[in-house]
């Protein structure tokens, strides 16, 4: 008996639909309504403009540290757009564009990054989990949600977002493994933006692709051009269809780029070159999609200007509302809320202690 090769399922495909100039591969181009295409664009643009606004607010000291989406709007929006209302979206911290699309409000995001716990609120009826900062940890929650979906015989899915760095975390692997074993409807979306703070993708893992990490767990993987909103959408839709059909989880690696800082506390000049950023600027997901829409006759300068104005207005109003809250005196006693369903004597005592300290200060 010689050495035998074991046939393991090991195909990793790469999917891109739009070329760098916004031309679409006709064999792959999905049939989507104009309205849907325009909504993809709208949410991407909103994501970009909101990001820019947050950056200014942060530089002015009006909100705290946050993680810009800039450059990853297609990965955010393309994936989230494939979900329906009753599906679940499980985020890390770089999905503001997708979260907005799914019903988290700009006002809440501003409050969140402004240091208000109130900003963590998710509106009733919106099935998004709140921002999850510990890298990779949230992947397991999506598996649990998906397990519940399957247990209840529903055909919803749970989609979880995370970065390239997150694929090094043990939790990510345990999540893939559990999802594989239970064959639950989870869609894993890796936003491979090439960097985990200062650590480049090449130093994050010796694997050629991140998509192949699914293979370790019997979960199919696909790599997509993450700056191509159509490709991301199509890959997400396929994964969701598999999931709804009871065929289990998929790992999608969306190859994209973080065009801005890691967070506002970061200085990327320390670890990457302007040239690299410039290369990726050429692949800006919004530009590319705009050319496509223009070619299709769905967008022109005038329409764009109108849209920009709309978005600007929407953002301005959200900022005003958030700043109003932030300018009012904050009630520190709120820190005792929502720890448990009910309160307990030691917390009642400590709350009173704080109330007394506060009134001492006032007097």
């Amino acid at each position: 008996m010689p050495r035998e090769v074991i046939e393991i399922p090991s195909t990793i495909e790469y999917l891109t639909i739009l070329d760098q100039d916004g031309g679409a591969d006709p064999a792959l181009e999905p049939e989507l309504s104009d309205e849907f295409l325009l909504s993809l664009h709208r949410w991407m643009l909103l994501g970009r403009r909101f990001d820019e606004r947050m950056l200014r607010l942060q530089r002015q000291g009006r909100i705290g540290t946050f993680a810009p989406v800039m450059g990853q709007e297609a990965a955010n929006v393309g994936a989230a757009a494939a979900l329906r209302q009753s599906d679940w979206m499980v985020v890390a911290f770089r999905e503001a564009a997708g979260e907005l699309m799914r019903g988290r409000t700009m006002e809440d995001l501003l409050l969140y990054y402004g240091g208000y716990n109130e900003g963590g609120t998710i509106p009733e009826g919106v099935n998004n989990l709140p921002t999850s900062i510990p890298v990779g940890s949230q992947a397991l929650h999506a598996v649990g949600l998906a397990w519940g979906i399957k247990y209840r015989g529903k055909d919803d899915v749970a989609m979880v977002f995370f970065g390239d760095g997150a694929t090094s975390q043990g939790d990510f692997h345990e999540a893939l493994n559990f999802a594989g074993v239970y064959k639950v409807p989870t869609v894993f979306v890796c936003q491979n933006n090439q960097w985990a703070i200062s650590v480049p993708r090449s130093r994050q893992t010796a694997a050629l692709t991140l998509a192949q990490k699914g293979l370790a767990h019997g979960v199919p993987g696909i790599q997509v051009d993450g700056n191509d909103v159509l490709a991301v959408y199509v890959a997400a839709r396929e994964a969701i269809e598999r999931a709804r059909a009871g065929e289990g989880a998929t790992l999608i690696e969306a190859v994209t780029y973080r065009m801005s800082v890691h967070t506002t506390a970061d200085d990327p000049k320390r670890y990457r070159t302007d040239e690299e950023v410039e290369v990726w600027r050429q692949r800006d997901p919004i530009n590319r999609f705009q050319i496509y829409l223009r070619t299709k006759g769905l967008l022109d300068d005038e329409k764009l200007a109108g849209l920009e104005e709309d978005i600007d207005q929407q953002i301005r109003e959200a900022v005003e509302r958030a700043e109003k809250t932030m300018s009012e005196p904050v009630d520190p006693l709120v820190m005792f809320d929502h720890l448990y369903a009910e309160s307990y004597p030691h917390l009642v005592d400590q709350r009173r202690e704080l109330a007394d300290a506060l009134s001492d200060k006032e007097s």
Binding site: S137, L145, Y340
Partner: protein, 326 residues
């Protein structure tokens, strides 16, 4: 009423809660077909099927993390960690998420989950199978930390824990899993989480303990009566967090003296908090320094020496007597 061991009583709690509520899902390593390495989940697989007595792959972070998602979805997962010594593989999921999802989402989501784990020493087990680290969890806001001391309260507390809308870490003192039996009513019985009980009344001295250490503590109380004519009041904490300090501080206001007994390490252990609460709330009635009879500040030794590590009747007695002499 049947006489049951703690294992049987816990099994009764699970069986009945699963019968009543299809949101209750038991999951963990070997909890399904095998019925749990201590047989606490025995029969659940046969009765409720593999999706409700769910064998998991070998990953504690996976178990707890997945259970968090299940709980957010509206289920009531009861996750078993095979031994508390391996709960650290999931500590981040507990600290970063289970304890915070309600708080983080401002009440939109909650995590009605129980994490059960056999803990503590006394069964001649291998390394990592004998620790008492309840203090880690009691110090963590957003969690509840419950430790039963006998079959009957184990059953009632586990039922309450399953119904609790917030995450409960439920540590089961494995040395008394089968050490004795108690009458356990067939009919539903619950006990309020966050409440301690007086296990024995007295007025000369307050002994405070929980879990497996209740037995040497109560035995010491008996000996104090017999040998010294002293009536010790014995308090069984049952819940460490939120800590019911009313009961024990009231007792100490009456007795003026307290000894705390636990097998967790002494330094930065549960006894420190209990002593501090007594001091803060009953300082002026204290007639002697509060004593702690505890496990030592060493890794629990392998089993040839575990009995020497553990507080026993003699150690409790001599601490009590010193306190009485002071």
């Amino acid at each position: 009423m049947a006489k049951m061991t703690m294992v049987q009583a816990l099994n009764l709690a699970l069986t009945q809660e699963m019968a009543e509520d299809d949101r209750v899902i038991v999951l963990g390593e070997d909890v399904g077909r095998d019925g749990g390495v201590f047989r606490v989940t025995d029969g659940l697989f046969e009765t409720y099927g593999e999706s409700r007595a769910l064998d998991t792959p070998l990953g504690e972070a996976g178990i707890v993390g997945m259970a968090i998602g299940m709980a957010i979805y509206g289920l009531r997962p009861v996750a078993e960690i095979q031994f508390s010594g391996f709960i650290y593989q999931a500590f981040h999921q507990i600290e970063q998420h289970a304890a915070r999802i309600r708080w983080r989402s401002r009440g939109r989501f909650n995590v009605p989950m129980v994490i059960r784990a056999p803990f503590a020493a006394g069964v001649r087990a291998l390394e990592h199978h004998s620790e008492s680290r309840e203090a880690y969890f009691a110090h963590t806001p957003g969690l509840k930390m419950v430790i039963p001391s006998g079959p009957r309260n184990a059953r009632a507390l586990l039922v309450s824990a399953i119904r609790d809308p917030d995450p409960v870490v439920f540590f089961e003192p494995k040395s008394i899993y089968r050490a004795f039996r108690e009458e356990v009513p067939e009919d539903e019985e619950v006990m309020e989480i966050g409440k301690s009980v007086i296990a024995r009344e007295g007025q000369d001295l307050t002994l405070i303990s929980y879990g497996a250490m209740m037995r040497p503590t109560l035995a010491a109380a008996d000996r104090l009566t017999e040998e010294d004519g002293v009536q010790a009041e014995v308090i069984d904490l049952l819940t460490l967090s939120p800590l019911d300090d009313t009961l024990f501080t009231t007792s100490v206001r009456k007795t003026g003296r307290a000894v705390i007994v636990h097998e967790a390490h002494r330094s930065f252990g549960p006894g420190a908090e209990i002593a501090s609460r007594i001091m803060e709330r009953s300082f002026w009635t204290l007639e002697a320094p509060i004593k702690r009879v505890t496990g030592y500040d060493v890794v629990v030794p392998f089993f040839a020496r575990e009995q020497a590590y553990l507080p026993d009747v003699e150690r409790v007695l001599s601490a009590a007597r010193e306190t009485l002499r002071a």
